[in-house]
């Protein structure tokens, strides 16, 4: 198995504050790798260094076999980048944006037109081809941005929070497109704040917190390590709470909200089994809710502190 991206001891600080504090990553060619973390964790900085936009203070990064510090031109020729903020030319139409990229990749005119038409079609943008990008919705703009990235047929694609701010339908569509790309053999480096997105797309996940990788693994490995999934039972009074706690045992009791948290895998079968165990006491349950692990749980489990946005400013200043 060959590596498409390797980072060793990657360091970067801005204004004396360490944003990346010794990152080691390895991404196998033809797989999807997800860097998961809250705002300010250093995700964007990592992408910026790997895509030659920002110089690292220390460590080594190789992308598609080339060192980003000593041979950035070769890296640029192999990669495509779609950032958090769509980098499309708002004053041009969808088609013109794609043809601009085709020209910059030195495709023949006919070849450029063919690729542009293909991508417009594939990304459901054919109707918007002749419209100025400034009129596009967030989802359309993001799709156009990714289509522009694909014109040059990059082998490694960086997607920096590709679905942040998108509605659920556009998000699903983006996921579909990303899966299609991996099927075509490219390597995807994806950053996200959402565990479900990493879960859905990634072969391998690294969790980034305050510039350090706090965990790596396949999605199922990570989720298994998180004791986040539980069923929450709310009762009308303390008597019900006491009765249920006695029957179930091992549940976590919240006196003030009259709720019990029962660790469970949160599937339908598990919920039914739980209610069966309660027997008659189930009549005293006011409400049942199912809680699946999210990024906050991952963070709490891995770092012992909740996700915070205190350093969000750093990442978003461009």
């Amino acid at each position: 198995m060959t590596s498409a991206i390797t980072a060793t001891g990657l360091r970067k600080s801005f204004g004396g504050k360490a944003v990346l504090d010794g990152i080691d990553l390895e991404v196998a060619a033809g797989t999807t790798f997800s860097l998961l973390g809250p705002n300010g964790a250093g995700k964007t900085t990592t992408v910026q260094i790997m895509s030659t936009l920002v110089r690292a203070d220390g460590g080594e990064v190789r992308v598609a076999g080339h060192d980003v510090a000593t041979d950035p031109a070769a890296v640029r020729a192999a990669i495509g980048v779609t950032g958090q903020f769509s980098a499309v030319d708002n004053l041009l139409t969808g088609e013109e944006n794609l043809l601009l990229m085709a020209d910059l990749h030195h495709l023949r005119r006919a070849e450029g037109r063919r690729r542009a038409a293909e991508l417009l079609d594939q990304f459901d943008l054919a109707d918007a081809a002749k419209k100025s990008a400034v009129t596009f919705s967030g989802g359309m703009r993001r799709r156009l941005d990714l289509a522009m990235t694909l014109i040059g047929e990059p082998r490694v694609i960086f997607l920096d929070e590709p679905t942040t701010g998108l509605d659920p339908r556009s998000r699903r569509m983006m996921w579909q497109i990303i899966r299609g790309l991996v099927a075509g053999g490219v390597t995807i480096f994806l950053t996200t704040q959402q565990l479900d997105e990493a879960d859905e797309l990634a072969d391998q996940i690294a969790v980034l917190d305050h510039g350090k990788v706090v965990a790596t693994g396949r999605p199922e490995e990570l989720k298994r390590s998180i004791p986040g999934a539980h069923v929450r039972l709310r009762f009308a009074d303390v008597a019900g709470l006491d009765a249920a706690e006695h029957v179930l045992g091992g549940a976590f009791r919240h006196e003030d909200t009259l709720t019990l948290e029962v660790p469970s895998d949160a599937g339908a079968t598990a919920v039914r089994a739980l209610l069966n165990r309660l027997g008659d006491t189930a009549d005293q349950v006011d409400a049942v809710s199912v809680h699946t692990p999210d990024l906050d749980d991952v963070f709490f489990a891995l770092t012992g502190h909740p996700t915070t946005d205190t350093t969000a400013e750093m990442e978003n200043t461009r």
Partner: protein, 261 residues
């Protein structure tokens, strides 16, 4: 293809892109021609008589002959303001970041801005000159003097454009370019554009006589009147070349700077 040829081709692509912006959104073009024409009409029609009397022999008859070089400098200033805003928009919207992650030389991206800006501004100037002819502009320059004047003009536009590109890259918001915009639009008023510095109050006079636009305006005026002054022209060329080089070096340094400084 060699690297040079790729750079030239990318530069042409980038030039086409920005020229397309200008053609598609002609408002900026209309403003950058309209404002200088308005000033031309204002100064010849409203203040012309009074100012001409003050200038005496220096005006060589029609006041429009006297002020046209200054108006042309202002046209270049407006053109560069449009460029600064355009570069800043591309920089803040992220498309320059996209170009920076692609296998394109910075020279191609930057020279694309400069070439399109040069073409746009020279077109504006041609329109302003056409209006000036209608208002009685009668130059006495021969072919060589016209060519030299054109050369000085191109150098001036290059200088202002390179500075505009750097300012556009440096500013974090569109408002950030306003300092430059205001400066280049106001400086011609405190120069020899509309009145001879000799008639200004003492402190203003020193500034007007020594600021970069004055030698450029004087050199153009001399050339168009058929009475060129080699010394002034050299000072003008030196200023333009110096400013162009400063803008070029600054812009090049900014293109691949750390985005998160």
């Amino acid at each position: 293809m060699t690297t040079m040829a790729f750079t030239a081709r990318d530069s042409a692509t980038m030039t086409r892109r920005t020229l397309r912006h200008a053609v598609r959104y002609p408002v900026t073009m209309i403003v950058s021609v309209g404002v200088p024409v308005l000033l031309l009409l204002l100064f010849t029609g409203v203040f012309g008589g009074a100012l001409e009397a003050g200038l005496g022999a220096a005006a060589h008859g029609a006041y429009v002959n006297y002020i046209l070089p200054g108006i042309l400098v202002m046209t270049a200033a407006y053109g560069s303001s449009v460029t600064a805003l355009g570069v800043n928009r591309d920089s803040t919207e992220g498309i320059i970041g996209r170009f920076a992650t692609m296998a394109i030389s910075p020279a191609a991206v930057l020279s694309g801005y400069v070439t399109s800006s040069l073409l746009r501004t020279l077109t504006s100037m041609a329109m302003v000159i056409a209006v000036a002819f209608g208002l009685g502009f009668r130059p006495a320059a021969d072919a060589t003097q016209w060519l030299t004047a054109a050369g000085v003009t191109v150098l001036l536009v290059l200088a202002l454009t390179w500075l505009a590109v750097a300012v556009g890259l440096a500013a974090k918001t569109a408002e950030g370019t306003s300092g430059f915009t205001l400066l280049v639009q106001l400086l011609p008023f405190i120069s020899s554009a509309f009145a001879a510095p000799g008639q200004m109050s003492e402190s203003v006079r020193w500034f007007a006589a020594n600021e970069p636009f004055t030698p450029v305006i004087d050199a153009l005026r001399g050339l168009l009147a058929g009475t060129p002054d080699g010394g002034t022209a050299l000072v003008a060329v030196a200023w333009c070349a110096g400013l162009a080089l400063a803008g070029y070096l600054w812009g090049r340094a900014l293109f691949r700077r750390d985005l998160n400084r």
